[in-house]
Subunit: 365 residues, 2 copies
């Protein structure tokens, strides 16, 4: 593997990106920023021009045999045929793709390759899990994948070095790599991406019954729920169709839950129980900047019975120099006293406790 | 109506806020910022202390007869009884509330008032449509209602001056006031708030079936859809229960759509048609900062066949000094040429066209 000066030590080039839309152009920009030699091709030449103009690489200009990595970032319906074509054209390259469904791609690939002399072992599937409701190279960003999950789906016939190259590609883009079998991946994205998309669509489609005046009452909640429903329908048609077996089973589970929920509407306790199931599901994936919610420890301080003292309490929390993750007020009905619960990283809790005690506060825990 | 120095000219005080949680304390902070004399009371005294410490007003300390406006911002289940109590205690005040369901409150109110000498005409219902997934006075903000919708639900027996006071209260908080009949309001919030909440809950609850490893693939889409599912279950239990007739009919409409959607999964054209219905619903309520999406006009410029020229194109768009709402690339397959479509406010389109032509670009429209 070549490793010329200026190129990221773990990622060999040159890289060819086939399909210079939002995903392809964003990968290009991230690689260029890391010093990798990137070339661009798109069936719509103006996409490649725009991507190049946005700093995502140069127009495709090398010999086919020169490329070491080829990233197929076309719309889903063109992915399998493009992979076969590129495997044939680039004998020294590992080919990867960015399609959001992996099982169907590989099935299509083996069908297309049947009877041909195609080296499928050089194809390593991958799925960068980022995107916006926009499409095309204009909104490309070299930070699109930073801290996002990028799934790599290696197979037993892949070469170790090829898998390593695809992992390095994702890492250079700033992504967190998760390795997973293709079938497992497809089940997982049905759960955490395709079903939520359809729930967003169902919520937004229901607005067709609403009077225009009622829409003036729409707040940030429904905007959050329906944001992804604005995405391109042509792309989602392809994604959902290629994963429809998993998507169907998710939708059927929702139908069962919906019937259950309807049966709970007249019973506040059973209704709240169901709300709690949803709340804990949402909390499992909540968190800042795409990370899991962080573990915190609560430091609990008694609230003095005077408003003036409270400003000092907040000031002293701030002065302790500890990053506060959450704050809440708790009550002790027996003693008729209130407490301020300050959530901080577990390894900073003791520092906060000491600091608050030094300032004269009554620290309960 | 008194109108002392320093008090907002349209809003008389003093104001008493009953229930110093997130909503009550945020109203208090906004009114205090506008110079209004605000007093606070909460059944949990530490909530009132914290709210006062956060600048939402002083602790309740005036004669009952002194208050001109009383805002009942308690949890939903306590609203009706608190309104009756406060109507009796404060003979010179208009009483309003912040509950998110209005029909049920008024029914409960008339039941409670039956046989008593209660002046219900002094109650004017209202619903400030803002909130976060947090509760309590700690996260209160005087900007919580800025540019948000605040529904006022006057009745024919209300006095004009009382309605005006409640409208002024909302306006001083920076909200956009919408006036609507209570029944109409409840139907609308079922459509744009309560149903979306349950769709978020259903999506999040479905994660109980997912393996922990699969949750690592969760991205910003599902986080958006499930954000509101993290909200307090006790509060939503009350909201949904008091509006359950409307909520049930919304959920039944979703069940029909879900069955329809399942029947479309194997037919990509019909599937995409349904995605389009969702997309147009979502677009109707999309937009910046809570406003409707703005009307734009597209200015279309030919993309030159050279990457270097593109940077100049973007530079010239910027130099035109026109605020760009959206950008997209369009293709003309017949001429094999690309176009940059620049969406701007209709009254700025001509300025941009002239500027681009002056810089030598080929402007198509």
């Amino acid at each position: 593997m070549t490793n010329p000066e200026g190129v990221s030590p773990i990622l060999g080039g040159p890289v060819l990106i086939v399909g210079a839309g939002l995903i392809g152009a964003s990968i290009g920009k991230a690689l260029v920023a890391a010093g990798v030699d990137v070339h661009l091709w798109d069936i719509d030449h103006s996409n490649a021009l725009v991507a190049a103009g946005r700093g995502a690489g140069q127009l495709d200009g090398l010999d086919d045999a020169a490329y070491r990595i080829v990233v197929v970032a076309t719309p889903p319906s063109a992915v399998a045929s493009t992979i076969v074509e590129r495997l044939n054209r680039h004998p020294h390259a590992v080919i990867t793709d960015t399609a959001s469904v992996k099982g169907a791609i590989f099935t299509e690939l083996t069908d297309l390759a049947a009877g041909q002399d195609v080296d499928l072992a050089r194809y390593v599937g991958s799925h960068p899990m980022a995107g916006t409701q926009y499409a095309g190279p204009l909104t490309a960003s070299d930070e699109l994948f930073v801290d996002r999950t990028w799934v790599v789906t290696p197979r037993t016939d892949n070469r170790y070095d090829d898998v390593k190259q695809v992992v390095a590609l994702a890492q250079v883009c700033g992504a967190r790599v998760v390795s997973m079998d293709a079938g497992e991946h497809d089940r997982a994205v049905a759960e955490v991406s395709h079903l939520p998309h359809l729930m967003s669509i169902l919520t937004a489609a229901n607005l067709r019954h609403a009077r225009a005046e009622h829409l003036r009452l729409a707040g940030s909640g429904i905007r959050d729920v329906t944001r992804i429903a604005r995405s391109q329908t042509a792309m989602w048609r392809q994604i959902l169709t290629s994963n429809r077996t998993e998507v169907r089973s998710q939708l059927e589970a929702i139908r069962d839950d919906l019937d259950d929920l309807l049966s709970r509407l007249d019973d506040p306790d059973r209704l709240e129980e169901f709300l709690g199931v949803g709340q804990s599901g949402a909390r499992k994936i909540a968190g800042k900047h795409g990370h899991q919610m962080m573990e915190t420890t609560a430091v609990v301080v008694e609230i003095p019975d005077a408003p003036g003292a409270l400003a000092k309490l907040f000031g002293d929390v701030e002065a302790a120099g500890v990053n506060v993750e959450d704050l809440s007020v708790e009550h002790d009905p027996a003693r008729e006293v209130g407490f301020l619960s300050i959530d901080v990283a577990p390894d900073r809790a003791e520092q906060l406790r000491v600091s608050m005690r030094n300032h004269g506060w009554s620290v309960r825990s």
